[in-house]
Symmetry: C2
Subunit: 199 residues, 2 copies
């Protein structure tokens, strides 16, 4: 792996940190360069434009998310165990982590880009749609596995699951509510209970 690739990854890593705090638009070449001790032009040479830097940041984050949340979940047996894994990993993902101090960049980008047409928005929308489809498939797997009732609407289930995560992020990051996690978990348990084959 060449030196250029190493530097490029260091740049992107730091850019993810900054963007998670200030947003993809708040990300600035000057402050990014200062943040990694490089000249602005030296940094810029790794990307054809600021937008390509932003795209790299987004793509890297999407890949990280798949590794951190999706893959461990997909390895679990389908139905409840898989959904529980997804949920807990997703909660953990959006905690403050050193590589993303401003919380989930994808969530930040979702409100930031929702009115800004362009390739960045397209990329994000595609990733979010794919993820939603995955969740729907996992919910359907709960039915196939016999954990959930057949009348459960997988798309509605996926909507409710993501809504809980969004609520948790809101309460924890903005309101700094220490109950955010327990509320989210309780809501998730209620969602599971409502979907389960009644005992």
């Amino acid at each position: 792996m060449g030196k250029g690739t190493v530097t490029r990854e260091r740049i992107i890593g730091r850019a993810v940190e900054l963007a998670s705090v200030d947003g993809l638009n708040g990300l600035t070449l000057g402050r990014l360069a200062e943040g990694i001790g490089m000249s602005k032009s030296g940094l810029f040479a790794h990307f054809r434009s600021k937008e390509e830097l932003q795209r790299s940041v987004l793509e890297t984050t999407i890949t990280s998310f798949r590794r951190f949340v999706y893959e461990p979940g997909a390895a679990e047996p389908r139905g409840e165990p898989r959904l529980r894994s997804i949920f807990e990993r997703w909660l953990a993902w959006q905690q403050e982590r050193e590589e993303m101090p401003g919380g989930c960049l994808l969530m930040q980008a979702s409100t930031e880009l929702d009115d800004q047409p362009g390739p960045l928005r397209d990329l994000l929308v595609k990733a979010q749609r794919d993820w939603r489809d995955t969740l729907i498939a996992f919910a359907r797997g709960g039915i196939t596995a016999g954990h959930f009732r057949a009348e459960v609407d997988p798309a509605l289930f996926a909507f409710q699951l993501e809504a809980i995560i969004l609520g948790a992020g809101h309460d924890r990051r903005l309101l700094r509510d220490p109950l955010a996690l327990s509320h989210a978990r309780a809501a998730f348990e209620a969602l599971l209970a409502s979907a389960r084959t009644t005992t």
Copy 2:
């Protein structure tokens, strides 16, 4: 009402439009001035700083929200009717409205300001905390009115309610999902059903 006040309100009205699309940080004096056909300095004279402009925008939006969502709801009889009113008005509020084409500014600001300490964040947090407390009181009212079981956790109920709204905003604005509203309504009905005194 003096001419100055009229102009000031016209400025803020337009600023709300712009900020709902580009965010409070994306709001710019130059583009705002151009948008209402004024000189940048003439506009600026109405505010001591950009931050005061942003503060005015936030405060105006918070007041609008109270009038649009809270007040009609508070006029309804407590318990389910009041909560249903709140929910529907809240959904309507975050639709694209001509005075806020970029969707709910408060939601946008929530992710934008969650890592930016300062008076703007403080103002937003206070408004959101107050609103949450209101929701909790309304949920408690459902118990007092005999609509909900006594074991219902009002804080959890309020969390779940706001989560549904957040999910609806996400699906509608980013994913452009036409099912967003019906998913939100179905989730709300499920929430009500789970809280009701079992029949």
